[in-house]
């Protein structure tokens, strides 16, 4: 069976990206809507509205794949707990399925991004790959023995909530942990460390941006670093080395063939990845030192394309 056109949705903490994807992973139509500051009900309304709009353009749509930055009960289609979105125990598959009449497949956003990179991108041809999606938070996706690994109910692969500092600062959002790599090496951490560095070094380009009233967030630190500012580069060195400590743990745990790093922060490229590679080479057990750390290839479309691919795989499997 060929499932034809499928809607893939990447429902992120700041925006919802929705696309109609054909069997060759070509995006036929797409929309982008802001998701910041919306309630759970408003997010559901937005989702249903956008699905219906997409069906208006592509009436042959057979199903919806939904990637959410939350611990997900994959089998039941429930968004159990999200760190950066107002969702708790939301039976999103049932609700969206009833409202649209379409089969809905729900998965963690980083799982589907990892699937997309595995099928079409930087992890193509591997059987074991670890993907991190670094933006507001850090999402994790695992391809183990050729398949997405989700844990007992689908709540696993929360790689951003791996502790790298036992007595570290409290984590973000609703994570009760401390010292998680998410709070020390995400885009949010990049902005926080960037602000501190800008205050410490008023003569740097980053300091000048702060003095000019600019918002020092991850994007601003990236701009300054790409422009050659040593202070901003120092921030990437700090954050990238923390990322490398987490990769060291993942290398020793998984012995993957590749690490794929995506999300907004990868705009900095090797400014982020080089310090991470350095820590990995210095700290991992000998057989794991040389595991490549590469940038994701599918960019901001990975979640959307992967969500559609996940729905396609499950539909075709269920159909035998």
């Amino acid at each position: 069976m060929n499932a034809g056109e499928i809607i893939g949705v990447d429902l992120g903490g700041t925006k919802m990206l929705l696309g109609v994807v054909d069997p060759d992973s070509k995006v036929l139509w797409e929309s982008r809507e802001a998701s910041t500051g919306q309630t759970e009900d408003e997010l559901v309304e937005l989702l249903v509205r956008e699905i219906e709009e997409a069906r208006g353009k592509c009436p042959g749509v057979a199903a919806v794949g939904l990637g959410i930055p939350a611990t997900v009960d994959h089998d039941k289609g429930i968004a159990r707990s999200a760190v950066n979105l107002p969702m708790e125990n939301l039976p999103i598959r049932e609700i969206a399925g009833e409202r649209t009449g379409l089969p809905i497949v729900v998965d963690n956003d980083a799982n589907v991004a990892a699937l997309a990179e595995h099928l079409y991108g930087a992890a193509k041809g591997t059987r074991n790959a670890v993907m991190l999606t670094i933006g507001t938070g850090i999402g994790g996706g695992l391809i183990l023995n050729g398949e997405v690994y989700r844990g007992a109910t689908g709540a696993g692969a929360e790689l951003g909530h791996t502790v790298i500092e036992v007595d570290g600062p409290p984590c973000q959002g609703n994570c009760p942990g401390r010292g998680c790599v998410e709070t020390l090496a995400s885009g949010t951490a990049l902005g926080r460390e960037g602000r501190e560095a800008a205050e410490r070094e008023p003569k740097s380009a980053l300091g000048a941006m702060l003095a000019a009233g600019e918002t020092i967030d991850g994007k601003a630190v990236t701009e300054a670093a790409l422009g050659g500012d040593e202070t901003a580069r120092g921030v990437f060195d700090l954050v990238g080395s923390r990322l490398g400590v987490a990769l060291t743990s993942f290398a020793n745990i998984f012995e993957p063939e590749v690490f794929v790093i995506g999300g907004g922060v990868i705009a900095a490229g090797d400014l982020l990845l080089d310090p991470a590679r350095r820590e990995l080479a210095a700290r991992a057990l000998p057989p794991m030192k040389q595991i490549p750390v590469v940038a994701a290839e599918l960019g901001s479309d990975a979640g959307m394309i992967g969500a559609a691919a996940m729905a396609r795989i499950e539909l075709e499997r269920d159909a035998g």
Copy 2:
């Protein structure tokens, strides 16, 4: 095909345990030899000698399963790198196979212990389980989707080398890392923290043991703690809470159905596990807070029985 009697070997950092195991996992004959301080060549000689002695007692032996505390190339049967044994890139399957004429299956010691607990012990009936074997070091074994997970070449599942303290102390043996849970929560760590506590608290039972010239190692701290000494219990609280931080990471990463803790240190039982459970409940993401943390059931035989079971599974699979 039924592979009949199989020799299981648990080649540890201090002793080599070898047993002839029947298809019902019953141990028909066993031997125990010291392995401390031996060279790589001497360890190979010891292994071959003990295999031949076992065959003298049970001539029907069909194969040997070998569990080694090393990163292992499972497919090639090579012990690549051991933290607490003098082995490096040793083609042990080939060497022992040529010397004995028997098929040899080589795996990481904690992988086979996890397999044994999965087949016969505390993780029976689960599809996803994480096992830690805490002794001189900390070994890791993963059962994911019902099978032992080893990584790309079999060097993975080194859970003891998960970093919990970014700027922590250098790790043990040949691990180039810092702040690994192995160096902060192993039996070795228990002894080290115990000696410091004994010096700090000379009036405690632990302090009295030190004053009497006793060696304060993990075993001594366990004895004192089981006898009610608050200072020794404080050491378990510290080490157990660090263990719980690592379990928090593994809970968020794997969402397993159970954590199984084995190895010599588990003699302390809930003195070790309760602080670990407390940290897990306080720090893990909501769906993962309640994952049970239980003691291994097969005791010191787990590695030997699991090594035999591993060899049996692979022989029967290869025979179709």
